[in-house]
Symmetry: D3
Subunit: 187 residues, 6 copies
């Protein structure tokens, strides 16, 4: 786990609190390797717990498809120039969407992706909320409703967007490095 990030030291897994170590071990077993974001956030165990609890809340109770969540993440992370998140969630998007090209499209430019209108609108709003957070207003929620998203889905679209505006900043600041595996998974 020592190469997980460039700017802060990664703690020895043996010295981590039990719950943090248990989560890392579960993720490692699940993926076949330890995704570096888990090693990196272990630098601050109290932040580790909060960060992943929020992530879990976003994917476990949601009005969105998992594929839509990963579309949002890759698009937002591309706008924020986040190497870790475009690569790691690019892999997840390839898997959840069962599409080997969509992640590369969204990481480069969501306008270049093959999208139905609701997803194009969803990503337009996410990009606006990312780039110009002071300019969103009720018309943006109205646009989401017009292409079929419920109020709950609109909240969830904003929440995923907002959460990855947090994640991208932590990953860029700490110089988190995506595992080699993520670059090819699902291609």
């Amino acid at each position: 786990m020592s190469d997980a990030m460039g700017e802060f030291p990664v703690p020895d897994i043996e010295e981590l609190p039990d719950d943090v170590r248990a989560r890392i071990e579960a993720e490692t077993e699940d993926a076949g390797f330890t995704p570096n974001v888990f090693a990196a956030f272990a630098y601050r165990p109290s932040h580790f717990r909060a960060f992943f609890a929020y992530h879990d809340a976003l994917v476990e109770q949601t009005a969105l498809e998992r594929e839509e969540i990963e579309m949002l993440i890759v698009t937002v992370s591309g706008v924020n120039d986040c190497y870790y998140c475009t690569v790691a969630h690019g892999a997840l998007l390839r898997i959840y969407a069962d599409d080997p090209y969509l992640a590369d499209q969204l990481a480069a430019n969501h306008r270049a992706a093959d999208l139905a209108e609701p997803h194009r609108t969803m990503l337009d709003v996410a990009v606006k909320l990312t780039d110009s957070p002071g300019e969103v207003d009720s018309e943006d929620i109205e646009r989401l409703r017009e292409v079929g998203f419920s109020d709950e889905a609109a909240w969830d679209i904003a929440s995923v967007t907002a959460y990855y505006n947090l994640s991208n900043r932590m990953a860029n600041f700490a110089d988190m490095r995506p595992n080699e595996e993520f670059h090819t998974l699902g291609r």
Copy 2:
């Protein structure tokens, strides 16, 4: 609590899960009124729990003074044009810093505030991480170290900045309204 936000309905407190209701009641007793961010996030109880758990982690275990945390929040929220956060945390900053003017300075422009060099550098880095999240690099952490911040403090500065980049986007998107009390508290 019905005026807590403009874009989504606020649930009836009686119908909320026990832990969410208990937190709202504790906050209400503490402040003398229910800060609207608690009412607003109750729209999604699973997000409520994660959002406030992350907040608590940021203020409870930290290498920063609480006053510094609120300085970061007001500055970042000013950059992101967030009405809720500049006003609510402006009140907290007046109280924690025991300074009736600093919040108005930081909300307008941190360069106009009366700051010692370490705090000016801290806020310069926070503004860069907010406005240009792809441009931060190791020189920014180096700048923080040079004015005396530890590595832990640098991580915490980034974490508070990143978390309020999440919060500002949720508050702007949902049109959260700061309680009237926040406008005058600590003046």
Copy 3:
């Protein structure tokens, strides 16, 4: 008056030309204190005269309500990150609009304010003219007409916006400091 601005010395009022001193004394009597912008502009008496003559022309002969003028000023000053003008004119807006919250809303983000459509449009145009002065065209005047503003009012909206684009730059450059009184007046 010695703390009126950070970057230039403030002249002794006794040594100022009679008309400049008279204006300062009248303002001081009117407000109960000397607003620092008067002390600051006394650095250059010829500019003092021109600056306040223009201000007087804008508020004395106008197709706008005084409340609308102050709404424009606070919004433009928020966009330009001007501490002096958001605070000093925030106080004036609270008084003229008889509203304790509107100034904090407009200083943060005019999209978060409780506005009727004509005022939202007025401020949208003012923000565009402030942020992108090369992009305004006849459609912007047309938008003002459509929500009921006369041609004279459109000119006046542009004039107030343009004048505070001057003022904000002088206040930021000279580091003008709002008087303590402005922070709480009208709350």
Copy 4:
């Protein structure tokens, strides 16, 4: 004078107040034609008086050379994409600097102009104050001092910059049209 601006009607000179008409006649005699900015501002005589009084103050009592003032104006007007001001003051700069090319250089890009270091620094600061009015701070004044400008000159540099941030916005908004003569004067 009927083509002086595209968005507002130009009043009949015979119907203007005596002092406004007298100034227009004096300018017409001086230039050999009526510069359209005088015709345009006559739309609002009270603004006409204030606008030109401020202009006169800037050029009559100043620590700058007139050539430097026109260099500032053309540069700022280029940044703000102002057709009227780049062309009309381009002509004045050619005359005052006795240089047929400098205006075209500054209107396009002050970095492409043949400038001594003090003037390059002067224009760098003017462009920063124009484009990013919230980011100027004491280091910018320090830069001006280091290349030899007095405090009075620094104030005047900011004042000319700020005033043309007003003028450019009025000219763009009202669609003021430079007289044909300005395009070739001094070439």
Copy 5:
């Protein structure tokens, strides 16, 4: 030819490959002087050939009028702050459009020019493609079609815009200097 650019040495014309020298001689005979862009690109003969071959392709086989091509060039070069291209192609536009003012209008701000709707739309799309190359999409081509441009013309509008995004960057980087003649030709 020694003053053709500020950053790189200009080769002696006698030492250039025959085809490059022949082209320069032909251009010199045609214009009555050697346009400095030919002298500058001779620094790299292989680039010289490719650069002017592309230029020739754009103007020789095209669905656009030559006047439209020069309108695009001056507008794009104004957006990119290119002194060489606004001045040299400003001269060409004055000649091809037989209009002494259009170039000054477009170099400053295409919104200030006297344009029929198809040309305003053409330049709006060119400015968008220049400033925000990731944001163009099929709606932009649709806008061109709606004002009467064929598919071939749309391709050519994009090609001229794209090519001058190359040219402007080379001219700015190498500090190419427009010949004195260009400043007055066609006025």
Copy 6:
């Protein structure tokens, strides 16, 4: 070749001029498939010839390593949000640099890549020339010299950057689609 781009029809290869068809056939034999940029540019054979002649000049006679050229292309194309170029040249970079990760790093954010100082500086200048073409000046060439690049190399760095500012705009405008093969080549 029918899916090569979304906005314009791709001509039948049999109907193309001999030299264009020959080049396409040679590229197809070389790559094992027809890279879509060749099919797309065949829409305008005269542009096809000029575009690829310029490309050939950039890679055949150069002071840069081919690996450096592809690093520039992927970085610039990432800044310009170009799906075609990040993917197609990402494949070439993986091959020429014999590095399976560098392309994903540079497409996301060159600051996140593992680079020696000369390459970091090279890409910093390329990004500045791409994003702010009016702000480059002699200091940027000086920075390149200081890390060891010759004048010829500096010209070539600018040329590759400028040429892909052309290419990215054409690919985005025409909606060119990278071949499926490019997504995985060299991984």
